[in-house]
Subunit: 377 residues, 4 copies
C-alpha cells in the first residue's frame, strides 16, 4: 500500500536519545515506515514502547535472531529493507554482520565495531553481499558541512596546506576526578567501549570529518593522549599530528576534559587561495577567508550553495535547522540509495569511513603507547 521503505530498528527504545534522533530523522522526508523492531532486550518493554509510540506490535520481535529469521521468511516485498543498529557499541559488529550476510541494508551508529579487525571483516562481508551501509557520522549531514566539502572539491580554496580540527567537550570532567566514578563509568571501561574513550568517541568524528571535507587521506599520525589518572585506562583527551597523502599537515585535538565545553567541534581548512571554517554548535554558518578580502559568511538555503548542500535544507534562509535535520539528510541519502535513485556518495558516510575510523583509533592509541611516535594508517 505504502511506497515507504520498510525500516527496522534495533535498540533505541525507552528514553533513548539516539532512538528519538533516528526516528525523527527517518520521518523527516516521508521515506521510511517503521515496520519492525527489537527496541529492548526485554520483549515486554519492546512491545510496550511500540505501543507508546504508536507502532503496530506484530513485528516487534523477542530478539534480534528471531527478527532476522522471521523477516527472512516474509516475501521480499514485505520484508524489512533496511535496519538501523542503535544498540550498545559491542553489538554493532555482530548485528551488522548478520544483517549484511542476510541481505539487509544497514544504517549503523558509531562506532561501527569494537576493533579494526572487525571493521575489516565487516567490509569484506559488505563487498561480498553488495548491500548498502551507512554509518551515522551525523555532522556530515549539515548543509554547510556539505557546502564546505563541495567548495574544497571544486578547488575554491586551492591546494590544501593546513588542516585543524577540534572536538572539545567537558562532560567527563565531573566523573574523572572521582576515583569511584571513573572505575564504574561504562565509557571508561575498555570491555564495554573499546580501547579508547576520547579518540574512540569524538576524535574519530573529527578524523572522519577531515577526510570527508578535504578529500585527503590521512597517511601518518603521532598522538599524545592524556589519561589524567594512572588508574584510568582510557584516553580522555589528546592531540594528534596529521600528515596526508598530499603535502599538507594537520592537527586534530579532542578532549572530554575541556571543562564547560558542550559539543565544540570545529574544523578549519587552509588552502593556497582561501580557507574555510565551520563550527558544529553554530552549524548554519560557513566562513570563507581570503587574503585581503572581506570575510564571507555563507548560510544554508541560498542559491550560491551547491546542489549537495541545498538538498539538505528544507526552509528558506534564516530558519535555523539543527542536528535532527542533519541526521534527516543522512536518512534521505540512504533512502535514495535503497530505492535505487541517483545519489551523491557524500550524502551518507559509508563502510569505508568506518574502517578508516577504527584504524585511526587503534593507531592513535598505538602511537601514544609507543612514546608518541609516527604510525602509518
Amino acid at each position: 500500500m505504502s511506497n515507504k521503505i520498510r525500516w527496522g530498528v534495533l535498540g533505541g527504545g525507552g528514553d533513548s536519545l539516539i532512538g528519538v534522533l533516528h526516528r525523527v530523522a527517518a520521518s523527516m522526508f516521508d521515506a521510511y515506515q517503521l515496520t519492525g523492531a527489537v527496541f529492548n532486550p526485554n520483549h515486554e518493554a519492546s512491545l510496550k514502547f511500540a505501543s507508546e509510540i504508536g507502532i503496530p506490535t506484530n513485528r516487534i520481535y523477542k530478539d534480534f535472531d528471531t527478527m532476522v529469521a522471521e523477516e527472512l521468511k516474509l516475501p521480499s516485498e514485505e520484508r524489512i529493507q533496511v535496519f538501523s543498529v542503535l544498540t550498545p557499541n559491542f553489538l554493532h559488529f555482530p548485528m551488522a554482520k548478520k544483517l549484511l550476510e542476510s541481505g539487509f541494508h544497514v544504517i549503523c551508529e558509531k562506532p561501527m565495531t569494537m576493533t579494526y579487525e572487525e571493521a575489516l571483516e565487516l567490509e569484506t562481508i559488505q563487498k561480498k553481499n553488495n548491500n548498502l551501509f551507512a554509518l551515522t557520522h551525523t555532522y556530515t549531514g549539515y548543509p554547510m558541512v556539505r557546502q564546505m566539502k563541495m567548495m574544497i572539491a571544486n578547488g575554491e580554496i586551492g591546494e590544501i596546506q593546513k588542516v585543524d580540527a577540534q572536538y572539545y567537550q567537558g562532560w567527563i570532567n565531573p566523573i574523572i576526578h572521582d576515583s569511584e566514578l571513573r572505575k564504574t563509568t561504562w565509557r571508561l571501561d575498555p570491555e564495554k567501549s573499546g580501547i579508547s574513550c576520547c579518540m574512540g568517541d569524538i576524535g574519530v568524528h573529527a578524523y572522519q570529518m577531515i577526510e570527508y571535507m578535504t578529500g585527503l587521506e590521512v597517511k601518518d599520525i603521532l598522538a599524545d593522549l592524556n589519561h589524567l589518572y594512572d588508574d584510568n585506562q582510557m584516553d580522555i583527551d589528546g592531540t594528534v599530528l596529521l600528515r596526508f597523502n598530499k603535502p599538507a599537515k594537520g592537527v586534530l585535538r579532542a578532549s572530554q576534559i575541556a571543562t564547560g565545553e558542550e559539543n565544540n567541534f570545529s574544523v578549519a581548512v587552509y588552502g593556497k587561495k582561501a580557507a574555510l571554517k565551520w563550527e558544529q554548535e553554530n552549524p548554519n554558518y560557513l566562513y570563507l577567508l581570503e587574503e585581503g578580502q572581506p570575510l564571507r559568511v555563507l548560510k544554508p538555503g541560498h542559491d550560491y550553495n551547491s546542489e549537495l548542500s541545498l538538498d539538505g535544507t528544507k526552509l528558506p534562509p534564516g530558519h535555523p535547522e539543527g542536528i535532527f535535520d542533519a541526521m534527516g539528510n543522512i536518512y534521505k541519502g540512504m533512502a535514495k540509495a535503497v530505492r535505487g535513485e541517483d545519489y551523491n556518495p557524500a550524502e551518507f558516510p559509508s563502510m569505508r569511513d568506518g574502517v578508516r575510523g577504527m584504524h585511526f583509533i587503534e593507531t592513535a592509541v598505538g602511537s601514544h603507547r609507543d612514546g608518541n611516535v609516527w604510525k602509518s594508517l
Copy 2:
C-alpha cells in the same frame, strides 16, 4: 490499534514548505498519526501526494466539506481528532470556523483570519464549543524563548521598563522596486493577504512574542508604516511605538525591505534588575544582562533552565535544534492538551493570541492611516 492522535491536514501538499514543517513537527514525539487530508483542491493531486508520502488514500477526501461530513459519520474513536489548517490565508477562517463548530480541535497557521471581526467570531465559536485551538506562532516553541518567558514571569529581571522587538527581512526588496512585480505579487494584494503585508506577516509575530514573553498587554500603539511606492497599497516596513498595561514603553520594528536580512527577529526586554535578549537566527542562546555583572549566556538542555524550556529540548547541550524542533514542541503541547494531560498554556499559542494579533494589525494600519496617532487595543 495505535494510541496516536488521529490527525487531519488541510493544504500543505506538493512542495509546500509549511506542509513539511507541520508533518515533521507532528512526527517528532510519535504523538500524531496522519489519518486523513485534503492536501490540494485537486483531488487527483491530493491522492498522488498521499501516495508519495506513504499515507493511506482512503481518507484523502475530494474537498474540505466532504472531509468534514465523512469524518463526522465515523465513530468518535475513529474520527480525526485534530486538524491542521495550512491552506491559503483567506481559507483559515472559514475552515477553522466549520471545524470548531463540528467539534474538531484545530491547529491553525498564521494569520488566523483576514480581519479582526472574523477573529472575534472565531473566538466566540471556540468558547461555545469548547475545543482546543493552537495558532502556530512557531517561534514560541524554541526552548530559550520559553526560558525567557519563565524567567520574566519569575521576576528574575524585575519590573519591565523597556521592550524592543525587531523583525527584519529583505525578501520583498527584489519585488517592490519593480512596478509590474509589485502589482502581481499575492502578498501585496489586499484581496489575498488582508490589509497589511509587513505588520500582517511578521509584525504580528513580534507583537505576539512580546506579549508571550513579557506577560504584559499592549494597550496603545502608534504606527509609522512605509509603503515606499504610492501605487503599493500595502505596508512593507514600519515602526510601532508601544505602551503597556504597566508603566513600560516599547518599540516594535518590522521590515521586509531590510535588504539582505534573512529572518532577523529579535527581542530585548529590560527590567529593573536585569535584561534578557534573544535572536531567532541563533535561537539556542539567551543573553542575561545585569548591571555590573558578566553577561551570562544560557543554552538549552541545562538543568538551570525551567521545566517548560527543558520539555522542548531533546538532546544534551551542544546539539543545536532548530525551527522544526520549535514547531515540534508546539505540536507536543497540543498533543498533551488533546489527550487531556496536564500542560502549560505556554506550550502553544491560543485563540487569544490570534484575536489580539488581528486587532494589532488593524490598529497599526489605522494609526498610520490617521496620521501616526495613538490608538488603543
Copy 3:
C-alpha cells in the same frame, strides 16, 4: 623649535576621563604640543596637575579669561592655536564663543551648547571669524564608520530606504529608581544638563551618526520619550521616528535604562542594493548584507577600504584599535586643517553637526511634550 600645533586645554584635569582621552588623542600622531591650560577652576590644582603630567607650568593660567587675555598678548607664532573645551556642559558655549571671537580654533566636547539658540549664535560667530571648529562626536573617528560613510556615498548600497540606529545604555538604572538619587544627580538636573538627558547625551550621538553616515538630512521627527517617574524632569529613554529629505524612513532608539547594556550603539542602513551595519562595542567590524549573497565582514587596514578609512588605521589588520584611536583620528583631521593641509571634511564633526544636534534635541523634547507629534527640523 617644534613644529607641533600649540594646543591649549580647558578642563580635563585631575582624574577626568575625558582629559585622558583628549591628551592621548592629541599625542597620537605627534601633532600637538600641550602648551597651556586651565585644567581646573582652582589654580593650585591646575598647577599641581600640570606638574603631575609633566607640562611646563608657565602657561597654566588662573582662569579662562586670563588665559585668553595673556595668550592674545603673545606673538602669533607663540600663541596657542587651538583650544580643547572639556569643561562642564554649561561652559561649552561661553568658552567656545569667546575663543572663536578671539581668533582661536576650537575642539569642543559634546554637547556644543545648552540650547539651540546658543548653537545658532555660535555658528554665526564662527562664520564671521572663519575659525576651525571640531565637535568631538568621537565615534565618527572609527575607521569602519568612515568606511561605511564612504561606501554609502559611493552608492554601494544604492538609494537608502531604511535607517535604524540604537544607542542603549543601562548606567542610569541604579540611579533612577532611587528618589533621592534622581533628584541629586547632575545629569538629571535641567539647570546643569539642558532640557534632555537621554536624547541630549546619547540620542544626539545617534542622530549625528545617521546624518554623518548617510549624507541624508533628517527633516521631520516624532518622539516618544520616557521619564519613568513623574518627579523626574528628564527623558531617560526614547524612540524617535525619522523622515528624511529623501524618501526613506528611519527610527532612532536611545535608552539609559536598558539594564546591563554598556555602550551599545549601533547603526543599520538599508539601501536598494545592499545594507551596512556597524556596532560601537565591536568597532572593527563592518557588515555588508546583500540579497542572496554571503554576508561580508570588512575590517580596518585592508586595501579594500577607502582612503578616509585607511587614514585612521595605524597597524596592520588584526591589531584591534579602539576609542582612543578614534579620537586620535579626529585630532589628526583637525591638525591637518589647522596646518592648512588638505583634509576631508569627514575627518571631524563640525559646527553644523553641533547646530543640527541641538535642534534635534529640542525638537525631540517638543514632539514628545506636544503629544508625540511630527515636528520639522
Copy 4:
C-alpha cells in the same frame, strides 16, 4: 622641570609602525618624555624625523655608541633613564647588552636576542647590573589577559588540566608560493631572523602567554614544523605538544600560512573547576565556562575585575580599548618600576620571559629537526 621619565628611543623612525606604537604607548599616561634618540642609522634622517614629530634635536645622536657615550657624560638627573630598543632584530642583543652594562633600563622589542646563548648572556648582565628590563610581549597588556592570569592564580578555575593556544596568520601565504619572493624576504632569511620564522615570530608569543597566564612552566615539547617547500629554510607553520611542571598537557599551534587569518591569537585554559578563553582580535571579552552553568562573558572596567586588570582600563565599560592601550599598560608598569613605585611583576614581561622564549624557539626547531621528538626546556 618635568618629573617625566627621560626616555630614549633606538630605531622606530620614519614610517615605522613599531615606532608609532611605542610613542603612543609612552605618552598614554603622561609618564615619559622623549628626550633623545637615534631613530635611523642615517643621522640626517634621524634629525629630520625628530623635527617632524616635534622633538628637540639636541639629543638626536649620530649613532648608538655616541648616544651612550654622550648620555653617560650628563649628570644622572639629566641622563636618559630608559631606552626602548626598536631596531632590527639582530641589533636587539648588542644594544640591550651595552645599555644594561652602562646602567640604563631597557624596554626591548621581541625577539630579545637572536639565540638562546645570547639571551643567557643578557640575563647574566642584567642580574649583575640590576637594571630593569621589559620585553614587549604587547598582548600581556590587555586588561582581560591580566584578568585571566589573576583568576587562574586565584584558583578560580582549579588545577589546570589542559592548555590550548593558537596563533594563526596568513600573511606569508602570498610570499611562500613564489620561489623568488621566498628567497628574498628577510623574515625567511636565517641570517636576518634567526633560526625560526613562525615559532620565532609568533609561536613564542603564544608560548610566553601560556606561561604568563597559567603560571605553569613548560617542561617538555615535541614540535612538528612545516616549511612547505624544500628550498625554504624556515618554519612557517607548526604544532607543538606541551608538557608542564604540573600534570597538565597542552598544545600550541602557530601558522603564517593560515590563509586569510589576520592575527588570530587565542588561548584556552581548562581547569578542574572551570575554563577561561580569550582571543586577541576581540580582546575585550573573556569567556568563563563552567560545567552546567551559563557561559559568562567578562569585560574590562567592571568592579568584578582584579586590580591588575582594572589598572589597565582607562574608560568605563563599553568603550573598546585596543592594542595601543595594551602597550600603554606595559609602559605604565615599567614607569612605576623606573620610579621605584610599587608594581605587580605581571605588569610587564621580563628578562626571564625573553630567556625562556629563546629556549623555546631553539628547542622547538631541534625537536622537529630530530624527528619530532620530546625535548626538555
